[in-house]
């Protein structure tokens, strides 16, 4: 559908709009490039003067081409699934031109009221040009009262050229039954990477992350932060690995709050293949500090309210 024919209020159902607002905060047609995918098909796609969105012809997905030295542009690309039984793999390739500065707001929401699983596997490759800046925000969300599972398995490959900066914020707070996230990042000379993963699992949910960051270029650096909360009978496995192949620095920090009968494994790994590689990891898993709970209760909050404040702050 052409953007001119697309009406945010009438083309999208109330559930569509709610899902899009949950994952991207969008409540109308944004400025800049836009791609909305719904139930396995591209619903709307719109390029801007500096960002071209091109449909792939050999497989599902799009190419996103950002002109060199583009400044301050936002690209919105929500994916929603509102029917049961949809299973899709989508390939999105990003080409961020030299010196460009862009923010990409993606996300996937599954509303499943049926008994069959719905699944979206997004295969994203980011090619970030020399001295370019890219911020990528991705939120996963699930709801619906069916027995069918809501499954999201993102695969992300990031290739950073010299002097580029990549910031990725990946959030999954509610409603996704199963996630297996695989991320691979390659950094060239003086490239910088910042990854923040925020995750909360509940019920019987399972979330697994494999991440490998190859610091190939001299002066490259990476900071990887994971903050997670595991509730009920959920399971989390986080396995980040930073590999220093040159004079570089990296820091992996994994903090988790464990509640009820949840199981959390946090297994940061670091490898150095160069004498000037400086790589640090730290990991902690623990219950909510009882003094924190008590302190907030002395303000008049109930134990449940205090717990919620602590979790929201931790995942902020």
């Amino acid at each position: 559908m052409n953007i001119l024919d697309f009406k945010f209020d009438s083309t999208l159902t109330p559930v569509d709009r709610m899902m899009i607002a949950e994952i991207t905060d969008l409540t109308g047609i944004p400025d800049g490039a836009l791609s909305i995918r719904k139930n396995g098909e591209g619903l709307v796609s719109s390029s801007s003067a500096n960002v071209e969105i091109r449909q792939k012809t050999d497989k599902p997905g799009i190419d996103i081409l950002v002109k060199p030295f583009t400044k301050g542009e936002e690209i919105h690309m929500p994916v929603i699934i509102t029917e049961e039984g949809i299973v899709e793999t989508v390939y999105n390739d990003f080409f961020i031109g030299e010196g460009a500065e862009v923010t990409i707001i993606a996300g996937c929401g599954i509303h499943n009221c049926g008994n069959h699983d719905s699944q979206h596997d997004g295969i994203h490759t980011f090619n970030i040009g020399k001295n370019a800046y890219m911020k990528y925000v991705e939120k996963h969300y699930g709801d619906g009262d069916g027995n069918g599972k809501r499954i999201l398995n993102p695969v992300t490959v990031v290739n950073q050229e010299e002097g580029s900066y990549c910031e990725m914020e990946m959030v999954q707070i509610k409603g996704v039954d199963s996630t297996y996230r695989k991320t691979k990042v390659n950094l060239a000379i003086n490239a910088k990477l910042y990854i923040l993963e925020k995750l909360m699992t509940h019920g019987d949910q399972i979330a697994k992350t494999d991440m490998i960051v190859n610091l190939n270029g001299e002066g490259s650096s990476a900071q990887i932060i994971s903050r997670t909360v595991g509730k009920d009978n959920s399971t989390q496995i986080f396995y980040p690995n930073a590999v220093g192949n040159n004079s570089c620095s990296a820091h992996i920090q994994c903090d988790s709050i464990i509640m009820n009968n949840a199981k959390i494994s946090s297994i940061p790994a670091i490898s150095a293949n160069h004498p000037d590689a400086q790589i640090v990891h730290e990991a902690a898993i623990g219950k909510i500090n009882s003094d924190q709970l008590v302190k907030l209760q002395t303000f008049g909050l109930s134990e449940e309210e205090a717990e919620e404040v602590i979790i929201q702050g931790f995942l902020k």
């Binding site: 924190q292 008590v294 302190k295 002395t298 404040v309 602590i310 995942l315």
Partner: protein, 246 residues
């Protein structure tokens, strides 16, 4: 008014049952500044935690304005207007100083009001409003923010557990002035656990707690002179001379 009747608090230890509070009877009148002092381990902090509901007594009763609150939980006592500032306050990842003060006040506090509380505890307010109450703050900073959270609440009884601990001398002087103002203008009753002479001088009433019991209780002018002499064994002579703890 708070009335403690036959209050005991016992914990299990390797040597058997340990009486932290031992059949203690005490009346804390409203509208006063009351300073609890005495040796470390004597039961002062436990007593404050029993009043706040953080600890449950092994036996005995706690009355607040004539109502038995022994079975009320922390939240319920907080809603009655009882507050407690920790000796070692917890930190909160992701929660800003302004957010914490707002939670204490039970409403979204405007910036100027937060600044006012922070300034009164000796913090340069604008620098702190949006900082997280996490490990990036020093112990002294967290302690002062803790005191500010009680100021942000409309309390009937405010209990401060060793407010001087971890606070530098200059800030301590400011803190003493702040407590003077609090006593006159804000909280109805203030209970301060302290070893500091300058804090004790603020008191209407001094109570020495040791071995889980009230050893002596009375007006400050009557009790204080006795502290260095006959009750000297219950106090820390260094701190009584006015040397602030670092």
């Amino acid at each position: 008014m708070i009335e403690l009747k036959n209050l005991s608090f016992t914990v299990d230890s390797e040597e058997g049952q340990l009486e932290i509070i031992d059949n203690l009877n005490l009346t804390l009148d409203e509208g006063k500044v009351i300073v609890l002092t005495g040796p470390n381990g004597g039961g002062k902090s436990t007593l404050a935690k029993l009043i706040m509901g953080i600890e449950k007594p092994t036996s005995g009763q706690i009355f607040y304005n004539g109502k038995d609150i022994t079975d009320l939980n922390i939240t319920e006592r907080a809603k009655l207007g009882i507050g407690y500032a920790f000796q070692q306050p917890p930190r909160f990842k992701g929660l800003t100083v302004r957010g914490l003060l707002s939670l204490a006040a039970g409403k979204d506090l405007p910036e100027d009001e937060c600044c006012s509380y922070l300034t009164r505890v000796g913090l340069c307010s604008m620098d702190y409003l949006n900082r997280e109450v996490d490990s990036s703050l020093s112990g002294g900073e967290v302690k002062r923010i803790e005191i500010a959270t009680l100021m942000a609440r409309e309390l009937d009884v405010a209990m401060y557990d060793e407010p001087e601990a971890g606070i530098d001398l200059w800030s301590f002087a400011m803190l003493v002035d702040t407590f003077k103002r609090l006593a006159k203008t804000e909280h109805n009753s203030i209970i301060i656990i302290s070893h500091q002479e300058r804090i004790m001088q603020l008191a209407d009433e001094l109570i020495v707690i040791a071995d889980g019991k009230v050893q002596i209780q009375g007006p400050k002018d009557e009790i204080f002179p006795k502290l260095l002499s006959e009750f000297g064994r219950f106090t820390d002579a260094c701190t009584l001379r006015g040397e602030a703890k670092e």
